[in-house]
Symmetry: C2
Subunit: 434 residues, 2 copies
């Protein structure tokens, strides 16, 4: 019998359970692919006395040191989530010469540099496929399959909760509060949905994707974030009328001399864009490179088994290296130091919905104000009456963010404008169409 | 200065030119990713006196032996296409201890075993990402990223020519001959389009995908092939009315005990299926695995630069291994010996279009005949008059192929049936819906 490769699992939540289950169910296939059995030996849990039928036969411990001291264990899988103590445990595991596989987007997005430095220093692997896009292979494709390319754009639907909510708002016309409640009932949104609906979860993934795509370190602090809480059924209807769907997008662009532009916000996306058809809890990442042209990776962005699929792919990669006696793998790929483009200098088209006095000359006054602020308009639509007032929808051409901010300020000072109801970025066909 | 990794390129056609161009344009990025410059040293051409401005500065030769003898060259890139002499040259290169990267689906689908055996024997790499899906990363994802999964289904649009033609027929209502002419004028179809429209090109890719997905050797001879030449505008209209689009699909299913079912044929695909929106010359590969659920990989399936993207990804993989001094990579992944499910035992739903006498009782006679042959019908639609006759469209439930063949035979013997106009497989929602 061959000597198995032994693993310690930190955390026994949903994904941990998925990893245990898939490693067991597909043990035969995985052993063939690795050339040796791969087994979980120890699971780090908070309370070793709690009954966990799905962990039967595995050694439970609440003592991380016992894992660090166990020379039998060559790979540590971190599935605890959050920064502390996950970060410290992973560093300690690498310090102890163990390879680390994680699904922890928080740590990778905020402390990726520390992780890679430790991995490099101790000559171990630090792999994190499951931190972005759940089951979708995207980290390995960026590190290995698209290496011929200078990647110029990564655009992703990387948060299943908000994509589910926007899909339901688009299909059913319900408002934000109603779809949030529905998502919570179905288990697609957490009791505290702030990180999802506020865009923070997507921002962490945007930071990871941008770092990989542009080979430069992009941290969470470099990502401009805006959530979906202000999206209304009215905006969704206007989007449809104009030929768009509203999606929460993680957008990363390498602008060359102007630096790297990384943001998360709701966007009008042309209905013909490959990402526009990505519905419900599905995720997808769309990439532009100077050799491949456009490519897209689509699948389930969350869930126990899809995430386990990504975690185990990393385990297999490490295990294959152990079997072959290969040196450390690719490691950190942030070779460059590209500047971050400040938010106010980023460029986009914008949809602006205003509530104005219903009287002659209003359209002219508004258009003039935009013109004075150097904002060129693509279309102005006077749409409907709201009580004694009128709603106007404006779509701009490409313009710097700071000019939109200035225009907003001037508009609110116009006596005929009672309210700027919403401002949402628009991905124009020229930017995103395939 | 670092010692560069040197390459010989066999063939200087479209893809070869693309590889030269991308290696030059992205030299800086590629050097960083590899840790060493990567340079083409020699190009094998038929006529060394022919002027080739895009190969300026490179050493041209018409003597393969000089490449084999050149110890400076560690990687040979085969882009000649066809079986001979590509197969012999690749074997000779590996015999001489050189790593081989190829885009040659013909050789991989028909002589993959020989290639892997030689690679194993000589401890060199044999990589072929560009042989399926052009620029789309699919070989590496199957070998490395989906290793946690027992893959049950691979369904792909893997031929750009036919997807372009079917897209145009669907959008414009033109007939087969007209769209073929248009595709030829645009350079999307060759002067002799037989391998594309007859399904042979897709069949080679199906064999490669099935081998990778199911870890068992599937050769071209194991793939049932049917092209698109019999698809008419009428079929496309009926498909739309029934909620489908017609696509040329490469379908591979691991049926467990019944073996592996691999076929290429036109199919009715539900409009909601992720592959249904893949238009024009784009390709996509849709995968089902027992951990990941569904995933899809989308991009350009052909063209100089996308294919170069895949070829260079393989070059970078080999070069990284050389720099790190790693042992040979993953190698052949066909660990299993799964039987091939005979075509007559494969199961599908079918669309059957018939020309019948326009008289009472015909529908009953036809339905009875299907019933006698154990073919259960999902829907029967009497659709329109064609001269003095009537057209009937039948969609069956899931049924074995041999039963459809028997039913066809019995139907043609019915006096009221003048013609079976077409028989096309239907991917039902249960099979393909996400």
């Amino acid at each position: 019998m061959k000597h198995p490769i032994k693993i310690a699992l930190l955390g026994s939540g949903t994904v941990g359970t998925g990893v245990v289950r898939v490693l067991k169910e597909n043990a035969h296939e995985i052993e063939q692919k690795v050339g040796m059995p791969v087994e979980i030996k120890t699971v780090l849990v908070r309370d070793i006395h709690k009954k966990r039928p799905y962990l039967e036969g595995l050694q439970l411990t609440d003592d991380m040191d016992s894992i660090l001291r166990d020379d039998d264990i060559s790979i540590v899988i971190e599935l605890m989530g959050g920064i502390h103590p996950a970060r410290e445990y992973m560093l300690a595991a690498m310090q102890a010469g163990k390879h680390v596989v994680t699904a922890n987007k928080d740590v990778v997005a905020q402390f990726g540099r520390d992780m890679f430095e430790m991995a490099e220093q101790r000559q171990v692997e630090f792999l994190f496929e499951a931190s972005v896009g759940g089951g979708i292979p995207i980290v390995t494709p960026l590190k290995e399959c698209l290496t011929a390319n200078r990647i110029t754009e990564v655009m992703g639907i990387v948060n299943g909760t908000t994509n589910y909510m926007l899909t339901k708002m688009t299909q059913g016309g319900s408002d934000y509060a109603a779809v949030l409640k529905e998502a919570q009932e179905k288990g697609y949104a957490e009791a505290d949905p702030a990180a999802d609906v506020g865009g923070l979860d997507a921002a962490r993934k945007a930071a990871i994707l941008a770092s990989l795509a542009f080979n430069t370190r992009v941290g969470l602090e470099n990502v401009s974030v805006e959530g979906i809480t202000h999206i209304t059924p009215e905006d969704i209807v206007y989007a449809r009328e104009l030929g768009y769907v509203i999606k929460l997008l993680a957008i990363a662009r390498d602008l060359g001399g102007q630096g790297v532009d990384v943001r998360v916000h709701p966007s009008f996306l042309p209905v013909g864009h490959p990402l526009a058809a990505v519905s419900d809890v599905y995720n997808a990442i769309f990439i532009k490179g100077n050799a491949i042209g456009e490519a897209m990776f689509y699948g389930r962005g969350a869930g126990a088994l899809p995430t386990a699929s990504a975690v185990i792919a990393d385990i297999v990669a490490v295990a294959r290296g152990l079997v072959k006696g290969n040196a450390q793998g690719i490691g950190c790929t942030c070779f460059e130091k590209k500047p971050i483009c400040p938010l106010e200098d980023t460029v986009s088209a914008y949809y602006i919905r205003l509530l104005v006095a219903d009287q002659p000359g209003v359209l002219g006054a508004i258009a003039t104000t935009f013109g004075e602020q150097d904002v060129s308009l693509n279309s102005v639509i006077q749409t409907r009456r709201v009580g004694s007032q009128a709603e106007i929808v404006v779509v701009t051409h490409q313009v710097q963010h700071k000019k939109i901010l200035q225009a907003e300020q001037c508009l609110t000072q116009l006596p005929v404008v009672s309210k700027i109801s919403n401002v949402i970025r628009v991905e124009t066909a020229a930017e995103g169409k395939v």
